[in-house]
């Protein structure tokens, strides 16, 4: 059956925050990772069944980390319906970069739905007990963020599917 929707979702974040691992957790990977290092992007597909919306294909554009050595090609971002900004909670600078990546999204795809994934939560000691950890982290770094934030773990799979489902649903229901 053909999908009712096909959505382009971009994934942004610093080097080694776990973007590729998050994708690998849930999708069948058909292409070699060398695309990431050669042209700076690799696309994978995730099929979802969203209640009330039907079958939806998410085309996940894993964009190589933006740092002083690499610049993101704006063309890869353009046309995306949604974006996920990934940060590694064990590395302070990657959380600080959320604001920079949010600016990039705002500049090229202002209408896109955006979510933040605070990844590698399995490495945090109090992640199980502290329900406000995500907000606390965002506040700690003075990030005024009114969009969804989720604590994720590519290792355990925690919240990864939810992150994608919520983002896709918010795009379709707009």
């Amino acid at each position: 059956m053909n999908p009712a929707y096909k959505l382009k979702i971009i994934m942004l974040g610093d080097f080694a925050v776990g973007k590729t691992s998050l994708i690998r957790r849930f999708v069948y990977d058909e292409f070699n990772d060398s695309y990431l290092t050669t042209i700076g992007v690799k696309v994978t597909r995730k099929e979802l069944d969203i209640a009330g919306c039907g079958k939806t294909d998410l085309l996940l554009w894993d964009i190589a980390g933006n740092d002083k050595f690499t610049t993101i090609t704006p063309e890869y971002i353009k046309g995306a319906s949604g974006g996920i900004i990934v940060a590694d909670i064990t590395r302070k600078n990657t959380v600080e970069s959320i604001a920079v990546n949010a600016e990039i999204i705002e500049k090229y795809i202002p209408d896109a739905a955006v979510a933040v994934a605070l990844n590698k939560i399995d490495l945090s000691d109090d992640s199980d007990n502290n329900t406000n950890l995500a907000d606390e982290i965002m506040k700690k770094f003075n990030l005024n963020w009114n969009k969804p934030v989720m604590l994720t773990s590519a290792k355990t799979g925690r919240n990864v599917e939810n992150l994608l489902l919520n983002l896709a649903a918010s795009i379709i229901k707009r």
Partner: protein
């Protein structure tokens, strides 16, 4: 180069270009300079259109071409580097021959004739263009109905020539495919050439993807062959990414990637307002194809533009696009055999079965042949043995069909002749290859004996040397002790160093003792010491089987005057001997 020479060259070049399609072919293929083209033209002329080799001087070619000797020299070297000609200095001359061209002369001639026909039309168009009464930009539209007919006529004439040419070529061919085409021609009434032409030159659309320009999302797709291959959605997205990557990396804002080639296939990319089309094509499409692709893309644009303008991922209403693409592919590929995966697999199985059968039959035929050859070899050798004394030859025979190859030695050329004569009496053998070597058997025998005697003498000397060296070493033990200490270890290592290079030498271990303690105790101690030495030597790498422990007998040492100093001491001596003695 001076101007007047340049002018001359240009004139010669023009005249040669017009007259020789082969030269024209070379000039185009290698993008030859004017000077090289002139020299090549002269060479083609001097060799009778490449048919013969020539032996000449550089100055002869230079004078024919109207250039300096040095220019002729450089040009000839340059043509040699292009592998158009092959040059070899022969004394004061230079030998020049033409290397083979991949394309046949007929093909080049035909292309030339067609080019000339088109050239004629070009001059007509130029003439009309020069007339001022029709604006040049409108000329094409006005003239199209008239010129179009002429072009069609000329093209059909050229096509007819090609068909005739192909016909003459293929009639001489024999292959399974050709028979298949012949049958098809007989069944359908279509000329054989046309069928071959259709099947050998066509292009084929393998797949078409329509991709949204904004989102890079795959809008619709269809393939010629159904296959469970790579995910088209991902391919579409990655193709967009590669396209964007090239656009940004090479800073080509206005130009975009429009073709990716791999082998005989290519992806042609056509941009439209809202989407772009990626067409995977096998072969080389003609102008007609691009025209029909244009109309197809246009029809998609017209039908779906409202939907595509607002496209943000909702696939609703885009389904009919897939059917339109399929129709377009089917229409373009009409007449080309579709090969579904299952059929290919079945066909593969049939081919495999046929191959297996062919291999089996070949093996059987080959085996039968081999058995026959083997039997014949035996009979021939038997006949040779019967016709000659045994000492006169030492040969081997190898029969392969009708060919007999003889190898080995014979004692004289006459013996060789007798062997050939004997073998040629067999009617099965049509050709004898005699590779036997004539040698004097008695001389060889004597030489072998001498060598053997020398070898034995050498071995005796070797043994004598080892014996002397070993017998110099006496491994002494303290009273009542059979364990190996530092002193003994050192001596054992010396023995090992002597023995390790001679694996065909055996050693006997002989023990001696003082008379203290009585014979029984001394025998036991002697045995323990001999075993300890044997084990140590074996541990170092000497084969245990080469080390022999002897019965304790003090008289052996007592009788040997070399060891008189060791009377009333305790120790071990090793004696070497040749293996088996």
């Amino acid at each position: 180069m001076k101007d007047y020479i340049r002018k001359d060259i240009s004139i010669i070049q023009k005249s040669i270009k017009l007259e020789s399609p082969i030269l024209r072919h070379y000039i185009r293929k290698h993008n030859l300079s004017g000077l090289d083209a002139v020299i090549l033209g002269v060479l083609i002329d001097l060799t009778g259109q490449r048919k013969t080799d020539i032996r000449t001087h550089y100055n002869v070619i230079a004078s024919h071409a109207g250039v300096s000797d040095m220019e002729a020299y450089h040009s000839i070297n340059s043509l040699h580097r292009y592998r158009i000609i092959d040059t070899k200095p022969v004394g004061n001359f230079i030998h020049i021959s033409f290397t083979d061209i991949g394309e046949t002369i007929e093909e080049i001639d035909l292309a030339e004739q067609n080019a000339k026909k088109i050239k004629k039309l070009e001059s007509d168009v130029s003439y009309l263009k020069s007339k001022k009464f029709v604006p040049s930009d409108e000329l094409f539209d006005i003239m199209m109905p008239l010129i179009g007919r002429i072009i069609r006529k000329k093209l059909s004439e050229a096509l007819k020539d090609i068909v005739n040419y192909i016909n003459s070529r293929i009639e001489s061919l024999t292959s399974f495919t050709l028979w298949k085409y012949r049958f098809q021609s007989y069944r359908t009434g279509i000329p054989l050439a046309e069928i071959v032409f259709r099947n050998s030159i066509p292009y084929l659309i393998e797949e078409v993807l329509l991709i949204d320009r904004k989102t890079s999302v795959l809008l619709a797709a269809a393939s010629w062959q159904e296959h469970a291959g790579t995910d088209r959605d991902i391919v579409a997205a990655m193709l967009s990414a590669v396209k964007d990557f090239i656009k940004t990396s090479f800073n080509k804002e206005k130009n975009y990637l429009n073709e990716i080639s791999f082998g005989d296939s290519k992806i042609l990319i056509f941009e439209s307002v809202y989407f772009y089309s990626a067409v995977l094509i096998y072969g080389h499409p003609e102008e007609d194809f691009f025209n029909s692709l244009d109309s197809f893309i246009n029809s998609i644009h017209v039908k779906f533009r409202q939907k595509l303008k607002k496209f943000k991922g909702n696939m609703d209403g885009l389904e009919p696009m897939n059917i339109l693409i399929s129709d377009f592919i089917n229409k373009t590929n009409a007449g080309i055999e579709r090969r579904p995966v299952e059929t290919s697999y079945t066909r593969l199985k049939v081919i495999a079965a046929v191959c297996a059968a062919v291999i089996a039959v070949t093996i059987i035929i080959f085996s039968i042949g081999e058995i026959r050859d083997y039997r014949l070899e035996k009979i021939i050798l038997k006949n040779i043995e019967n016709s000659l004394p045994a000492y006169a030859h030492d040969i081997d025979a190898d029969v392969d069909g009708e060919i007999l190859t003889l190898t080995g030695s014979v004692n004289s050329p006459q013996t060789g002749d007798i062997i050939t004569k004997t073998a040629s009496a067999f009617p099965e053998i049509k050709n004898i290859v005699n590779k036997t070597v004539t040698s004097d058997f008695r001389m060889v025998e004597k030489f072998t004996e001498d060598m053997s005697a020398f070898e034995n003498k050498f071995k005796d000397l070797e043994l004598l040397f080892i014996k002397q060296e070993l017998e110099k070493i006496v491994i002494e033990f303290p009273s009542g002790v059979s364990a190996i200490g530092e002193n003994q270890t050192f001596q054992i290592k010396k023995i090992f160093e002597i023995l390790k290079g001679y694996p065909d030498i055996d050693v006997d271990i002989i023990a001696f003792n003082d008379t203290t303690g009585g014979l029984d105790i001394n025998r036991r101690l002697a045995n323990d010491r001999m075993n300890a030495i044997k084990n140590n030597l074996s541990g170092l790498g000497i084969d245990k089987k080469k080390i022999h422990i002897t019965d304790f007998n003090p008289d052996v040492i007592n009788a040997d005057h070399r060891y008189r100093d060791y009377k009333n001491t305790r120790g071990i001596i090793l004696f070497a001997r040749r293996s088996g003695n």
